[in-house]
Each structure stands twice: as C-alpha cells, then as structure tokens.
C-alpha cells in the first residue's frame, strides 16, 4: 500500500532520556494509541468474526433444537432465493442512482457556489440544512408531508398550481409512494446526500491553485477549456472520494427504507433484508450470511475508497 511508504515522513524528536531502553521507549510512544486501538478491535472486529462463524451454522432462534453446522447452505440460499437476489439488485440500483445523481447535482451546485454573488453564505447554509435533518425525521417528513397522495406537499403544490393558472379542476394527483416507491426512496436520499457531495466538491474547487487558473485565463483559455483541462483533472479525486464515501454510507442505508416503505413494494435493500431476516424471521444463520455478503461488497468499494483517501493524504503530508 502506498501508505506505508510514508511512515518515515515526520522527523522524530529524538530526545531519549538516558536509562530507558529503546524497546521501552517504543512502548511509551505507543501507549496513548493503545486504548483506542484495542477498544476498536474489540467492538468492531470481534462481531464481524462472530458473524462469519454464525453464517456457517444452521441457527433459527424459533427452532433452537435444530441448531448445527450448515456449511455453505446459508450462502446458497442468499444467492438462490428470489427475494434475496432482488434485494441485492435493489441495493445496487438504489446506491448507484442516489450516488450518481446527488454527485452530479452536488457538482453543479458546488460550481455555482464557487463564484461570488450576493448572499452566497446564506445559500450555502440553506443547502447544508437537508443533511442536518435527522434521517428518520427526514424520511417521515417525505413520507407524510410530501409524498402523501391526499395532503402531501407534492400533490398540494400541483393542485395549487392548477388552480392558480386556471388549468381546470382536475390536477394530476399521483400516488408516488405506490406507483414509484423506489423513486420516492431515492429522491429522499438524493435530497439528503446532495449537500454532502456539494460540501466535499466545493472544498475541492476551492483548493484549486489560483495561479494556474489565472495563468490559463491570461493565456486566453475559454471557460469550458479551463473546466475540461484544469478543473476536472484536479477534481477527479474529490469526485472519487465523495462518490465512494457516499456509496459506503448509502449501501448501509436502513433508515429511509425502513421508514418510507418498510421495505415493501420492492424497495427492500440488503441492510433492511438482513434486519428482517434477523428481527422478524429470527434466522440467525441466514442473516449472518447476508451480512457477510454485504461486508464483502463494501470491502471491494472500501479498497478503492482507501486508495483515494491515501492519495489525498499523501499530498497533505507531503506539503
């Protein structure tokens, strides 16, 4: 990994007191790190090992007598059960669409916010607000306050629009939650996650070298040329970073699916399905196998994410 190449970067302050062996000095140096490290290993790594072990057992809490070794049976079920395959697909669709769309909107808004205009600080603050609504509260707000076909804001606004402009007494009143449940969940998540993308991308835009931009401008580069040849290459890593971090958070999303549709109407993603297998069906073995599958998927993305973080980090440490 590129990270290990950096280990020698900061100069060590070699003020070693006499009488302390180098080995002991090393442990003194390590001591402040150990509580956090040990705590994290115990609380985050042990459960995953346990999950891995349980995933190979036949264990349904409602049927404790048949507990035993299952081999790969749970995994076979994960990949053959129609419902589970659908939830894998739903997870992928949900994650990819939310990440891509919020990334594109986020980039657009970051570009807008990167120029100076009247009230820029206020607009930035308004933009952050969606991210600062508790996810469950946001999901409830969208479910009842916006999507509800009878009194939600969306249909209410349509009615208001139709009345105001005299378009007749029959405004369209779609029942978004029933007809397009996936889009409903996705729209809510896009609304919450666009500010996240925007913040990271805006920070990226602001870290462009102003001298390079100035030089390109003086040399007569057109705005789109500057965007294509200076901004985009510079922004590549920030785009990657926000996409990957967004992916990691949205793959694990539970709150929105649970609150808006309770996993119904084909919106159950893997985290929701795992929750159900464990909480409603009490099939511990199967739930663990599903968990392992999600972990493996996340790890693949995490490898890329860590590489991007590492390259940004190298730049920072090297500076």
């Amino acid at each position: 990994m590129t990270a290990s190449a950096l280990t020698t970067a900061p100069p060590r302050t070699a003020v070693r007191r006499p009488g302390i062996s180098p080995r002991r000095a090393g442990w003194i140096r390590r001591a402040p790190l150990l509580p956090a490290l040990i705590f994290l290993i115990i609380v985050t790594q042990l459960p995953f090992i346990a999950t891995l072990v349980i995933s190979f057992t036949r264990w349904n809490a409602l049927d404790p007598r048949h507990r035993g070794w299952a081999g790969f049976a749970n995994y076979k079920e994960v990949f053959t059960d129609q419902r589970l395959r659908e939830s894998v697909l739903t997870t992928i669709i949900l994650t990819v669409s939310v990440v891509l769309i919020s990334l594109m909107i986020g980039l657009g808004i970051a570009l807008l916010l990167n120029r100076s205009f009247f009230g820029r600080g206020i607009v930035r603050t308004l933009m952050i607000a969606p991210f600062l609504i508790v996810p469950v509260a946001a999901a409830l707000l969208f479910k009842h306050g916006i999507y509800n076909p009878v009194y939600g804001l969306f249909n209410g606004a349509l009615t208001g629009f139709w009345h105001t402009f005299g378009l007749g007494n029959n405004p369209p009143q779609p029942d978004i939650l029933t007809v397009h449940p996936k889009i409903a969940v996705e729209a809510e998540l896009i609304w919450q996650w666009t500010p996240f993308m925007m913040l990271i991308l805006l920070a990226g835009l602001q870290s462009r070298d102003p001298e390079v931009m100035e030089a390109a401008h003086v040399d007569g580069a057109a705005p789109w040329q500057m965007f294509r040849y200076i901004t985009l290459p510079h922004m590549r890593r920030y785009l990657e970073l926000s996409a990957l971090l967004g992916t990691i958070f949205i793959i694990a999303n539970f709150d929105s699916v649970f609150t808006i549709t309770s996993g119904g109407l084909g919106t159950a993603n893997l985290p929701y399905t795992i929750y159900e297998t464990f909480y409603a069906s009490h099939d511990y073995g199967l739930a663990s196998a599903q968990g392992v599958v999600v972990v493996v998927g996340s790890l693949i993305i995490a490898t890329f994410a860590l590489r991007v973080v590492s390259s940004l980090f190298t730049e920072e440490v090297g500076r």
């Binding site: 280990t7 609380v43 120029r115 607000a129 009842h144 509800n148 009878v150 996240f196 970073l241």
Partner: protein, 286 residues
C-alpha cells in the same frame, strides 16, 4: 478605439451572467431548503390546517403540534427518549474524545512506527456496514443482560465515531507547532501535562468540531437503537418511528416532532459548519 468600447460591454455581459448564475444558485438553495421550511411551517399549523390540499400556507400559527408531541394529547412522553439520546450522544462523544486525543497524539505528534497503517486501519473499520455486526452484538447483549441499556449504545456509538475522531484530531494536532512541545519536554513536562496544558488549548477548535460531528452521528443513529433498546433505553429516532401509528390527523405533530428532534443536529451542524467537510470526509479534505 473599438477595443475601448468593446471591453465595458463584455464586462457588462459578464456581470449579467454572474447575476444570472447567482440567481440560479439562490433558486436551487431555496428548492433544497423548501422541505425543511415546509416541515417547520407545518409544525406551527393546527392539524386541520396542516393536512389540506392545496396547502394553506398562510394559516394561523399555533403551538398545538408541539403541545401534542410533548404529551398533551395522551400517549407516551418523548422526554425519556430525548434524554436517552442526549445521554448516549454526549456520553459516547466524551469517551471518543478521551480515546481519540491521546491516539491522535501518538499518530501526529510523536508518530509511532507504521503510523499511517494504523490510521488506515481506523478508517477501514468505518467502511463496514454496521448491520453486518448487529446480530453478534445483539446476542452478546442478550446474554450479558445489556439489552435496553443506554450504556450499550454509548459503547457502540463510541466505536462508530472513534475512527472519524482519530482522523480529524490527527489533522488538527498536526498543526500544533513542534517547537513548543520540544521546549516543554526539555523543561521536564510529562505526557499528561503536555496534553493538558499545550495541545488541548491549541487544538480546542478542532476538538469542538470533532465533538459536534460525533454528537450528530450518534444522535441520528437508528438501527442499533431500534434493535438493542426497548422501553427503558429507547432513543429519540426510535420514538419517532413508533409514534405515527395513531389514526386521525397527525401531520402537524409529526412535523413538530421532526423539528424538535432535528434541532440539536441543526444547531451542532451550523456551529461546526466550517469543519463539517473535514469531518464528513473523515479528515481527507480540509
């Protein structure tokens, strides 16, 4: 001569373009803020004015929704769950700081060998979906009588936020000038004294931002809280999911509840606005 005329015109065109793009930015900002504004406005409407089609924007304001939420209309009071959330969030944030500041010291100021590997190990734990570790944690809690106990959440939220805090604190501590610490070390100050008297005061803004971000993530958490708590240790988000079962009109009450529960996060988020990116990007972006 033509040049002198052309320039101001181009300048004016650019001004129009800038003003136009500024306007677009304002419109987008307002569009994104609209659901929040709608939530707050509806929370101050009466139930009969809240659930109308088309919406009654100018309806008289009332605090009935809030009164209802806090138990005037019967039903369980939200206070215990709010206090549980507060306890779990503040408690875990304090433990996170107690663990993260020394760890960041060992990673930034007197780096241990392979310190970047350790740093990336911390980060990698954040990349695993929490739901995958849920079952063993549940079984552990069940067998040790830790179910429905706020302390269990404190421990889990600590592990959830520790990687973010270590990354953030490391980047803040890296800005402490080494010369000051060398001087203190030569004067014979111990580690605890150096931490307390030099590093903490300098890194205070960073510590504050880190705590606010940890607070937000703990306050928002729902999955663990839902599975691992019941009546006693229920947190605010869990309370929120449970109370929309009643029949009849409830939109104003839901909006009041959503507003109240989001308020601490909004305050913490706006207070930490400048450092928010750093926290959200796990310290990778400044």
């Amino acid at each position: 001569m033509t040049h002198a005329v052309a320039l101001p015109q181009r300048h004016r065109e650019r001004n129009y373009k800038n003003a136009g793009l500024g306007l677009v930015a304002w419109l987008v900002g307002i569009l994104f803020f609209l659901p929040v504004a709608w939530m707050v406005l509806t929370s101050f409407h009466s139930e009969s004015n809240a659930g109308t089609n088309p919406p009654k924007i100018g309806a008289p304001l009332t605090v009935d929704g809030y009164r209802d939420f806090f138990g005037a209309g019967g039903g369980p009071s939200p206070w215990p769950s709010l206090f549980n959330s507060l306890g779990a969030s503040v408690g875990s944030t304090l433990i996170v700081l107690a663990l993260a500041v020394p760890a960041a010291y060992a990673l930034a100021i007197k780096p241990v060998r392979k310190w970047t590997d350790v740093l990336f190990f911390f980060l990698s734990t954040k990349m695993l979906p929490p739901v995958a570790g849920l079952l063993p944690i549940y079984l552990f809690a069940k067998n040790t009588d830790f179910l429905d106990n706020v302390w269990l959440l404190v421990i889990l939220y600590t592990s959830m936020n520790l990687p973010i805090a270590v990354w953030m604190m490391r980047s803040f501590l890296a800005e402490v000038p080494p010369a000051i610490m060398e001087a203190a070390a030569i004067d014979g100050a111990g580690l605890l004294n150096i931490l307390r008297k030099i590093i903490v005061p300098i890194a205070m803004p960073g510590i504050a931002a880190t705590s606010l971000i940890c607070f937000i993530f703990s306050w928002n958490e729902m999955l663990f809280a839902r599975v691992l708590t019941g009546v006693v240790a229920q947190t605010a988000p869990v309370y929120l999911t449970g109370f929309v079962t009643s029949q009849g009109l409830f939109l104003a009450k839901v909006c009041a509840a959503a507003t109240i529960i989001s308020l601490p996060v909004l305050i913490a988020g706006f207070a930490a606005q400048d450092k928010l990116v750093q926290g959200l990007s796990l310290g990778a972006v400044k």
